[in-house]
């Protein structure tokens, strides 16, 4: 509801943001699209002409492609499973009456604020190091041989590190959702004779449905592009080369821009598929 004068002022005030984001989105994306159809090796001859879909064919048929897809899926899937399941349990626990709730909350949320390079390094050296790491001490204490985490159990290690970073996010959102559940609903179910487990199954879980979906979608978008955790720990070796890392290596390490760009376009499409679902949920909420 407004008058004409305020409407034209509004359009003017929106312009800078729209133009900036439009530029930020379109210019690099078009360039990537352009490069993806070229043989382009900046250090070995530069622009070597159009090659059609060659880069795409080579990217998808390279021996590194499928392992990278699998690595990506394992990390995304593993982290999602851990964070959602433990997130729900933690959120329910934190919602219970207790002493020092505020402090516990702070403790649980803290990992989210640790920069990815720090958490990767701390886990890599101080916990997962086969000689001096805390895990090694722990294993020795129980008489077991220490594990070389980042080479023998590389995927598990990365999943642990990333899940530790994202568990607070899932917990916080699920806790917010649980707290918005009308306690009278639970009391009504109790009056109707539902035992605790049924109350969780029939009332709490359906109520959390949307929050869980949002957690899954947002985390998927961020997890698809995790970079620092791998960059600092394994540098993509021992089967931890994700799609993002593979593209990064093609573009900046082997300087095969055409090939990397084809992969980049693939990553954009992949992220957009997830984004569409997220947008639909966010969009519905806008109307409310």
């Amino acid at each position: 509801m407004a008058t004409k004068a305020s409407r034209s002022a509004a359009r003017l005030m929106m312009a800078p943001a729209v133009i900036l984001l439009l530029g930020w989105m379109l210019v690099p994306l078009c360039m990537t699209l352009y490069f993806s159809f070229k043989k382009y090796l900046p250090l070995r001859g530069g622009d070597l002409g159009w090659v059609g879909f060659d880069n795409y064919v080579r990217f998808f048929s390279s021996s590194a492609f499928w392992p990278s897809v699998i690595a990506t899926l394992v990390i995304v899937g593993g982290v999602l499973a851990i964070t959602v399941v433990f997130g729900i349990l933690l959120a329910i626990l934190l919602d219970q009456p207790m002493w020092g709730q505020g402090i516990v909350r702070i403790l649980v949320i803290a990992p989210f604020f640790v920069m990815p390079t720090v958490s990767a390094l701390v886990w890599k050296n101080m916990f997962m190091d086969p000689v001096n790491g805390l895990f090694a001490h722990l294993w020795k204490f129980f008489g077991a041989a220490p594990i070389e985490w980042l080479s023998q159990a590389s995927m598990t290690s990365i999943v642990i590190i990333v899940a530790w970073q994202w568990l607070p996010f899932a917990t916080l959102i699920l806790l917010t959702a649980i707290q918005s559940l009308d306690s009278e609903q639970l009391e009504a179910a109790e009056m109707d004779g539902a035992p605790p487990l049924s109350r969780f199954g029939y009332i709490t879980l359906p109520h959390l449905n949307r929050a869980i979906t949002v957690v899954v979608l947002i985390q998927t978008i961020f997890l698809l592009s995790i970079f620092a955790e791998i960059f600092v720990t394994t540098q993509g070796s021992f089967g931890t080369k994700t799609l993002t890392y593979l593209i990064y290596q093609r573009v900046l390490e082997s300087q095969n821009v055409g090939l990397g760009s084809a992969g980049g376009i693939f990553a954009v499409i992949l992220a957009n598929i997830v984004a569409i679902f997220l947008m639909r949920i966010v969009g519905k909420n806008l109307d409310a």
């Binding site: 994306l29 403790l107 109307d287």
Partner: protein, 276 residues
């Protein structure tokens, strides 16, 4: 109405929650503790928890050897600058979308969000190329602009949700009371929006501070912020636990503190209002 529970159950809850909370917090706690140990104590077997000779040596050495302050300063400028720039661009945009919505407002908002979901690696080379051409590689200006752009959708979105909570009737009342558009924004809207803007600033400083794709790929020595500084410790010669811990503690401490203040806003900012 919350009901009373038995003390027994409350004790169980408390013990369980504190146990899990401390377990999750432990890596951070361990890092902070280790930063006060000597290198020998840091790798002692069995590990030492609290009873060691506390020392501040590591902090001094980290600063002297690797010029910690320069990286810190880069982080402050890049995180602060990108947030400030973002706010300047976002406030008018969010204002107009919240108070003068049109049929397309919703589509514009969603489109802005969609730019946030563009995987960085997909546009890595073009940005890299543009940076080289414009001489922005390894510059604080370049990184500030990029971080502003990647967080702009979140800033606009958060401000939009805060502005929407300000009742339109109050702004209309100001208009009826004879306030011009400028006076309306200055005397009525801004004071009411300050808490929301503050939370937005806070969350964005955190996000920019911890950003670890562009900061690693677009900087070398000059403009590198703390994320890159810490990453340099991953090379074998940097492997000193106590010093690594001291450097890490310094890198995360300011954000941990800011973060604890902004937990509530975090949910709003990162779910784009999809969870309330």
């Amino acid at each position: 109405m919350a009901r009373n529970v038995t003390t027994q159950r409350k004790i169980v809850n408390t013990v369980l929650a504190w146990g899990i909370g401390l377990l999750i917090f432990f890596p951070i706690l361990w890092t902070i503790l280790t930063s006060f140990k000597s290198e020998a104590t840091a790798i002692a077997d069995p590990p030492v928890f609290l009873f060691f000779d506390w020392t501040l040596d590591n902090y001094r050495v980290v600063q002297e050897r690797s010029d910690y302050m320069r990286f810190l300063w880069n982080s402050v400028i890049i995180a602060g600058g990108s947030t400030l720039l973002g706010i300047i661009v976002a406030v008018p945009a969010a204002w107009s979308m919240a108070f003068v919505p049109s049929a397309r407002t919703k589509d514009i908002l969603l489109w802005m969000l969609s730019t946030k979901m563009l995987p960085a690696v997909g546009v890595l080379y073009p940005i890299y190329l543009i940076f080289i051409k414009m001489g922005l590689l390894d510059s604080r200006v370049g990184l500030t602009v990029v971080l502003m752009l990647i967080n702009l959708p979140i800033i606009i979105w958060m401000l939009y949700t805060y502005f929407r909570e300000i009742p339109g009737e109050i702004l209309e009342a100001a208009r009826m009371d004879g306030a011009s558009l400028k006076e309306e924004i200055l005397y009525v809207l801004t004071p009411m929006a300050v808490p929301g803007i503050a939370s937005t600033v806070l969350l964005n400083i955190i996000l920019a501070w911890n950003e670890a794709f562009w900061t690693l790929n677009l900087t070398a020595a000059k403009a590198a912020p703390l994320t890159a500084f810490i990453a340099s410790y991953s090379s074998p010669e940097g492997l000193f636990y106590a010093k690594l811990s001291a450097a890490s503690t310094m890198a995360i401490a300011p954000i941990l503190i800011l973060g604890w203040f902004s937990q509530k806003q975090l949910v709003r900012g990162l779910t784009f209002g999809a969870v309330k």
